[in-house]
Amino acid sequence: MRKRMILFLSMCCLVFSLVGCSSNTTSSNTANTQTKQSTITVAAAASLKNCMDDKLIPLFEKEHPNVKVDATYASSGNLQTQIESGANVDVFISAAMTQMNALDAKGLIVKDSIVQLLQNKIVLIVPAKSTKGISSFTDILKADKIAIGDPASVPAGQYAKEAFTNLKIWDQVSAKASLGTDVTQVLNWVAEGSADAGVVYATDASSNDKVKVVAEAPAGSVSKIIYPVGIVKATKNEDAAKTFEEFLKSDEALKVFESYGFAANK
């Protein structure tokens, strides 16, 4: 009796799973219609993690229930390398034009899809309990250990290098610098007190109360910091990717970005 019961139950399971399969195939047959459920992968600079995960992606998915957004965050240089090696990415948001332009030059970005979306600032941070008396960019030489993004791959690091080069102290700074593989790592090194000072975006600094901002980069020492967004050519969901890009440009999204310390680039 018991055996028969089990047999019956497993038959039921089998039938349900077959039904599940067939309904899947019908839905993929009716592709291209608006009701199609699609998933897009967004690769974004590490500094965008908080505002994307906490606000923008939930907001977008609520407005567009048929599109699911997966996000991955790393330094823009890392993401560039991954996209070049064929990573499955639909939308790329970089923390600097360099990486976007490099991909565009290789023909990996959909033509005319690049939008200069946001602006950010770089700031000097120290641990909240710091006693080193660091209060300006040139004071950073008082620090024993400095955290900055790796200028070879992290835009925040490139801007930091630019600022210190213009202040003529880059050589001294780089000798003490631990080069983070993305800007979040730099932030955490300073928050944990491992480094005495660091350079990150204003937006990152405001996300962590274990660090305090002591200075903005001196006027003229750093070029304008632009965050561009672009659609990756290899995308299989260009429509959904476009919808997402349009959403990022909307006033609603820009308001969210502004609440995290970014400025709209108009």
Binding site: S75, N78, P127, S153, K176, A177, T181, E192, S194
Partner: protein
């Protein structure tokens, strides 16, 4: 390609393996001597943890211990003026913790395979336990112990996760080979990265062959 990551990695792995070798030997000897099977299982579990945990978890714990705002780190900085985080010492600490289980387990296995009859015989001849360990157990377990040391060296050389968290990525100081490879790939410089990769490949291959050589010796003895 720069030489500094290679030199730093070799220095770190050498210093780490020296420490790991001694720590692993003592731990293995200690565990083998314990009579209670239950205590043995639990202690062995604890000592093997670093092998199965993600290195980032080890890095997390090391930061909890040595971070400058944490008890031990604060003490070292305040009283001795020693700052562990972001120093070369930190790369060694990370490598020691991560590679320890390999040494410990190999040594333990080698000790347990030593013929008990020989030890008994030595006891009947009134040899002291200390002498038995150094004159009988160690020579017989040497191939296994050496293989463990070599594996530990290789693991220390390849340590990345915990190192990045506690030692940072300071050029000429804490940038080891794995960190250099990660940074170069992130920067899109596959050319330079490939040189470092070749160095790691060559060292790792030599290590594996050496380990095989020593385990083969051990097997010959057992036959």
């Amino acid at each position: 390609m720069q030489m500094s990551p290679i030199i730093i990695s070799m220095k770190t792995a050498s210093a780490a393996v020296a420490l790991t070798f001694l720590l692993g030997l003592f731990a293995a000897r200690w565990i083998v001597k314990i009579k209670s099977e239950k205590a043995k299982m639990v202690l062995d579990g604890i000592l093997t943890m670093p092998l199965v945990l993600p290195p980032t978890v080890i890095g997390f714990f090391l930061l909890l211990i040595f971070g400058v705002n944490r008890p031990v780190g604060k003490f070292l900085l305040g009283f001795l003026g020693v700052r562990i985080v972001f120093s070369w010492t930190a790369t060694v600490i990370a490598a020691v913790v991560i590679s320890f289980p390999l040494m410990y387990r190999s040594a333990r296995g080698a000790f347990e395979q030593v013929d008990q009859n020989l030890i008994m015989a030595a006891r009947t001849l009134r040899m002291s336990e200390k002498r038995i360990f150094w004159r009988i157990i160690m020579p017989l377990a040497l191939p296994g112990v050496t293989a463990g040391g070599i594996l530990a060296f290789a693991r220390g050389l390849g340590e990345f996760g915990a190192t990045a968290m506690i030692a940072g990525n300071i050029e000429n100081r804490t940038r080891t080979l794995p960190l250099a490879i990660y940074s170069e790939v992130a920067a899109g410089d596959m050319q330079t990265a490939s040189y470092y990769v070749i160095v790691v490949l060559v060292i790792s291959f030599v290590v594996v062959v050496l380990t095989n050589y020593f385990t083969m010796k051990e097997r010959k003895y057992l036959k």
